[in-house]
């Protein structure tokens, strides 16, 4: 267990791509931190710098009390689980897990004990003598985890370890990773582009965009109080509805949906803004007043129903409970809770929260 501390980390690849720009981040001891962002935003690069697989262009990386910028990957006391597992194809499952311990000169009896413990924890005892190619994707994933566990490292690093699994297995393995983390009391850093994965796994979500951190916070926090338009649209499925707005007076913003009240104690805004409302915060109004909305298309998701339509010219999605029937092309009235209205700066996209 250790704290990981990054200060003003930058990475410029040879060729000039600036993959990570000035990232500062504290991963507290024992936390499960998820780096979340779209493909190409620099998540893997950041993780690989923590692992020591990439050099840092500038900035400092600390694991525990030690600055590790110049420390070899092997000596950082970390373990990494790769996206395509990166198992040693010519070694048995047992040898795959024992390899790191053998390299460190661990006594044979100790190796055997640890490998068997990890194998039983991951339910792969029956495959110990098999080669990786004789395993299914999920089993390979477990072996990769086992290889990380036996080393008993300070920090676990995961680079999209679930993206090669089918949807159902992904959900199971997700739970299992979280359970393992709790049980091993480890510090984990997990990279993913899948916001559901991030929300379900993390104590702390780090939302990244174009090499920068957009927001750091608990899953509920980044969902409820997105710090920027990017975070607002990236987290939540379907994405938050965004529309242009103009502050009419403190507490009222004019939008294509009409004049909407917002929480003026929370937001400090004037002039032109960007208004964000989550689909699930828009409800059917009981009576005859409310915002006029004509659904053009309905998507049934089981418990909820997504209605696609528009406010004026602005396309809007709303999510309502899937009870009763909806008549497409039939007008309905909607209401929006003032507390659910988010305001963002039109230019910078930052939240206008006080």
């Amino acid at each position: 267990m250790a704290t990981v501390e990054l200060s003003s980390i930058r990475k410029v690849y040879p060729g000039g791509v600036e993959a990570v720009r000035d990232v500062s981040l504290v991963v507290p001891n024992g936390s499960f931190t998820v780096l979340l962002g779209p493909s190409g935003c620099g998540k893997s690069t950041l993780l690989r710098m923590i692992a020591g697989l990439e050099t840092t262009t500038s900035g400092e990386c600390k694991i525990g009390e030690r600055v590790v910028n110049e420390v070899e990957p092997a000596d950082r006391d970390i373990a990494m689980v790769f996206q395509n597992y990166a198992l040693y194809p010519h070694m048995s499952v047992y040898d795959n897990m024992a390899y790191g311990l053998r390299n460190r000169g661990t006594p044979k009896a100790e190796i055997d004990k640890r490998v068997r413990e990890a194998a039983s924890l991951l339910a792969i005892e029956d495959f110990l003598s098999r080669k990786p190619r004789a395993l299914s994707g999920g089993q390979r994933q477990r072996v990769a985890m086992g290889r990380a566990i036996v080393r008993e490292p300070q920090v676990f690093l995961f680079d999209e370890p679930l993206s090669n699994l089918d949807a159902k297995l992904r959900v199971t393995m997700r739970l299992e990773i979280r359970r393992l983390h709790n049980r091993l009391n480890a510090t984990s850093i997990f990279v993913t582009h899948d916001q559901v994965e991030a929300m379900t796994l993390a104590d702390q979500v780090v939302v990244m965009n174009a090499g920068r951190i957009e927001q750091i916070g608990a899953p509920g926090e980044v969902y409820k109080h997105p710090a920027s338009r990017f975070v607002a649209s990236f987290i939540g499925a379907p994405a938050m509805n965004l529309m242009p707005g103009k502050i009419a007076e403190a507490g009222i913003v004019e939008t294509p949906a009409g004049r909407l009240p917002y929480d003026k104690n929370r937001f400090h805004a004037a002039g032109e803004v960007e208004v964000g409302i989550r689909p699930e915060d828009i409800h059917a109004a009981g009576g005859a007043d409310g915002i006029l909305f004509t659904p053009e298309l309905a998507e049934e998701l089981g418990a909820t129903r997504l209605l696609h339509g528009s406010f004026g010219d602005t396309p809007v999605i709303i999510a309502i409970p899937a009870s009763g029937t909806v008549h497409e092309k039939k007008e309905m009235r909607l209401s929006i809770d003032p507390a659910a209205v988010h305001l963002f700066d039109k230019v910078t996209g930052r939240s206008l929260v006080r």
Binding site: P73, M80, Y99
Partner: protein
């Protein structure tokens, strides 16, 4: 499901195969059967008539101590050239792989000069080491080293070994580099995190994963030494001095063309042919089963 083309008539597939079969027949089966037939014949001194002598050419060959000596020379030659060219090529490939890992299109461009240059240089080598006129040969002698491949059998063997190695390195290099590049980078990174030093990584991860390539190249190199080095030997030493650099294939040529002993020469070709067929068979069997992890 098996992929299978459906032909309307039975003769069409054979018709389509015909050109390929014709090539194989004209350039392989016909000469091979000629050699086989010839190996059972004994020509008179003037080459005017020949008699069928069954296995006499073969039994004479195996009674000849010179033939065993040539076999030994060939074996030494093969082990040295294959060993040297494989290990040097692997060393170069590992270095090149480090330098160009993940460099995309540059990789291909970088490989080209490696591929072409040594083949050209192989010819140069022959000129440079040419015992009487070659620059390098003169240089070595001016250093006071008694270097005379024209008279000293070991010097001559070293010379042809070096020249043959040089010519083969680029070929091996290309295969090794391709093999190295196909090892997933993450596997090597995982080993680095697992605490394996560079050398340990090489012996425990890289070399085992490269073993199919190594095995393939061993066989190809042996076949190369057996046959393709003919030109080098002919140009540099003509098998001399006193047969110190005479390999099996050179002896075929020497006995048949210069010695006029067509029967023995043919018998030797047949033996060589069997050797190569054997080697190739082993290669196919092993590559499909054992060496692939």
């Amino acid at each position: 499901m098996q992929k299978r083309a459906i032909f309307g008539s039975t003769s069409l597939p054979y018709l389509l195969l015909l050109p390929q079969l014709a090539v194989v027949a004209v350039f392989f089966y016909w000469p091979a059967s000629q050699a086989l037939w010839q190996s059972f014949l004994l020509e008179d001194a003037f080459g005017l008539s020949s008699t069928f002598v069954w296995f006499e050419n073969y039994s004479e060959l195996f009674a000849d101590s010179g033939y065993y000596r040539t076999m030994m020379t060939t074996a030494v030659f093969a082990v040295m050239v294959a060993g040297l060219s494989l290990s040097l090529a692997l060393l170069l490939a590992v270095q090149a792989d480090k330098a160009i890992h993940g460099a995309g299109i540059y990789r291909t461009l970088l490989i080209w000069p490696y591929a072409v240059a040594p083949a050209v240089a192989g010819v140069l080598w022959i000129f440079m080491f040419q015992p009487s006129l070659g620059v390098v040969a003169q240089g070595i002698r001016s250093l006071g080293i008694a270097w005379n491949p024209l008279l000293n059998g070991n010097d001559a063997l070293i010379l042809v070994v070096l020249a043959s190695t040089w010519k083969q390195i680029s070929y091996n290099f290309l295969f090794f580099l391709a093999g190295l590049q196909s090892i997933p980078r993450a596997v090597i990174e995982a080993a680095a995190i697992d605490g394996a030093s560079g050398t340990r990584r090489f012996w425990t991860i890289i070399l085992p994963l490269l073993s199919p390539t190594v095995f393939f190249l061993v066989v190809v190199n042996i076949v190369y030494v057996f046959f393709d080095t003919f030109g080098i030997i002919d140009a540099m030493t003509q098998g001399g001095p006193s047969k110190a650099t005479e390999t099996l294939v050179y002896k075929v040529f020497f006995d048949g063309r210069l010695g006029g002993n067509l029967g023995s020469s043919a018998a030797q070709s047949v033996i060589l042919m069997i050797l190569v067929v054997g080697l190739t068979a082993i290669q196919f069997r092993f590559i499909e089963r054992r060496v692939a992890y």
